[in-house]
Symmetry: C3
Subunit: 319 residues, 3 copies
């Protein structure tokens, strides 16, 4: 890996900082470049299929804070989502704690790993092609999963009944959390339908948190949703106790920009502490803290109309 | 305070940088955690009430740059705002220079301080409950000021005529500028009505600036406003002279994203110099410089329709 | 130049980091201030005129990915744009590779330079006043180019047939990429019409990249455009080969926020690696990498409706 830099001071700081901080001495955001060593770690293998489900955005039919009620004809839809399977697609795997929404499995890896994702299109609902396009990782053209007329191969246009394997490498600069989503010719309706998920990559030597909470901000059926659900009572209730290391994986897709806020907590960015942070479509970040503030707290998008239209949940911290 | 980190390099840099910079060696934004020492500083006490006012968004009735004119029926409304009082609510205090708009008082503290905000609901206009929810500071559940059905206490739902005291602690990571606002059941109309303000917390040993300018970006009556006013001639005229240390407290609430711009000036972020910077609802940042550029300058949101609809003002620098 | 700081650690780190990184120990974004030395470098002189052109947003008449077609009455308009001239406006200069769109010339300078931009208004189409307002550089009031009734001078309101010279200084904190645009009384329609461009300033000792790609995000005729073009096949095809240093100059104007994404590549920000990054009106950043990933890649705004409405292009990397 070579880092672009503009002078010896930038180099000195880069040496201190390792991969994550590069000082752009001239205002440039600086990137990762040629000479990346081959992956040296393990191979992680996942089996993921696009499958039909019936999804209810507001299972309890109400907005507990404002008091509105909703009938199922406004909140339930048939759609296609990513679900995890055991080896060779033997059987579907249940959702993991912290990632129990409409989104696909939370795929885990560590820097240095090669990740093989075997994708099968089981879309018997719309009978459309689908794909998986991964952010944050290194891959060759065939594993891009994005449809470009005249260029793209089978991985960008997996027909119903077909299977394709994406080969991805978690580089040093892949550490963090990233979205994956359909990028086939049916991408537009598919993402609105829930065909997305998160990929979480630990750095070398980084410990896994005690709790990992996926917060996927999107809209469905006109509601503003977290993990495909709207309003307190439907959105995830995340739980931790004092002393736990908690990690929030915040991601967004669609058309909207959001400001993610957790009550009574702050986190440090390179520009100082924040308790509210912008996120736009396909952006993602992870936030970690060791919990020390017991209580029942709201987490929500702070765009008022989003919050009022469902993008709000509860985080309970016990002693 | 313990910082989450992922390796010795991150630690080394964090040690250099102190509180404000944490190197996220694995792409994580890193937070403040358990073991925070108790507040060691002074107790600051404020008295703030929600009171009715008549507010004119465009007092001079015109957009000086485009030439449009507006009659008072389009620009004046009755609303409820936060205003500061002397001890025990004896009498209302006038607005401070640099913070003379619709927003509440600019509350000051220093890291280590405990802040007591005595809040009285004097809403005789709409007769609604109100509250104060503070960003950036540490507090226990009872001082959160946010309405959660079945959980929240009296501080989240202060009825007309009642008083509640919020107890807040300015931690090391509370340094900066933060919004406060209504988070009671009537939050939605109240924030649109102007029930918000700013909290400014100096770091340990940090000197106060010579001028502190509050720039609160919101919309009122369909105008895009700065401190509740629209168009040059109505929005604040901020003034400084060469050699002064000026601080801009930039905050936003509502539904909209903005890009704050000051002509002929730049500021440094961790990603290099900027003269225009995104801000979304409930985000906030402060910008400081020692003034050296005399002239009559525009400051404005650079979203074109916002600028054209009022979100623009003048900053005059004399020699 | 004096940097505002809040303690010795901030100073130490600033010393390491040079101009680009200032640690805001108290959460403040810290700025550049008084005592700026006079420019010590060369004088760069440019001749730029506002001239009428006929512009086609979708020259091939189609959205290659979705298959829609468009007739010229929906895609062609007469407008006024910035174009570069040789000394004393002798003759118009062709567009540079990497900057071949509707936007004006890519103006180059280096920190320390004085930049003289001779601007001539040749708007025979709308017969309106125009100006040039530059971001990122230092100038005196007369070179601001922004119309303020009662204050501004001739440089803010250059009448058809007239010429004005803007004098700008590239300070140390001017390194980076910045927009310039009309800020005269006819600013609003002019920017929508394409009267904007980019200014690229190298740091002291910084090498120019092998390729510099200008990505200007705006909307025209209802299409979401890159450099004034919509859809793959019309937007720029950028090209590089493995080993080249490529630089992306990403800028936006107008009303919309975007998330810029390049497939199969990542870049480092102070908050860790990213492959998608928010940009709002008048914001700008540059991204550099040494290319090492051959393939045919999409670059696009990741706001779904923007991408689907034209804001997408192709980047081809050969071995």
């Amino acid at each position: 890996m070579r880092l672009r830099r503009s002078g010896p001071r930038a180099l000195a700081l880069a040496a201190l900082a390792g991969a994550a901080l590069v000082v752009a001495g001239t205002g440039a955001l600086t990137s990762i470049a040629a000479g990346e060593p081959a992956a040296t770690g393990h191979v992680r293998e996942y089996w993921v299929a696009a499958v039909p489900v019936t999804w209810n955005v507001v299972p309890n039919g109400r907005n507990a804070i404002e008091g509105d009620t909703f009938t199922p004809d406004k909140t339930v839809f048939r759609t296609v989502v990513y679900r995890q399977y055991t080896k060779d697609f033997a059987r579907q795997v249940g959702k993991q704690p912290g990632n129990e929404g409409i989104q696909g499995p939370l795929l885990h890896a560590r820097v240095g790993d090669t990740i093989l994702v075997h994708f099968r299109n089981l879309d018997t609902l719309n009978n459309q092609p689908h794909s998986m396009h991964f952010h944050g990782v290194r891959y060759q053209f065939g594993s891009d999963g994005s449809y470009i007329p005249g260029f793209s191969g089978p991985g960008a246009n997996v027909k119903p009944g077909e299977t394709f394997t994406y080969k991805l490498v978690a580089e040093r600069e892949s550490a963090g959390v990233w979205p994956y989503h359909d990028h086939s010719p049916s991408m537009m309706p598919s993402i609105e339908g829930g065909l997305y998920g998160a990929l979480s990559i630990l750095g070398p030597g980084e410990r896994a948190p005690d709790h990992e909470f996926v917060v996927f901000l999107e809209s469905h059926l006109g509601f503003m949703t977290i993990d495909g659900r709207a309003f307190v009572g439907n959105t995830p209730v995340f739980r931790a106790k004092v002393g736990d290391v908690v990690q929030w994986d915040v991601l967004a897709l669609g058309d909207d920009f959001h400001t993610f806020h957790v009550h009574a907590h702050r986190w440090l960015t390179a520009d100082g502490p924040r308790d509210t942070q912008v996120i736009g479509p396909a952006e993602s970040y992870k936030i970690r803290w060791t919990e020390d503030t017991p209580g029942t707290w709201l987490y929500h998008c702070h765009v008022e109309s989003h919050m009022m239209n469902g993008m709000i949940g509860i985080y309970r911290v016990s002693r």
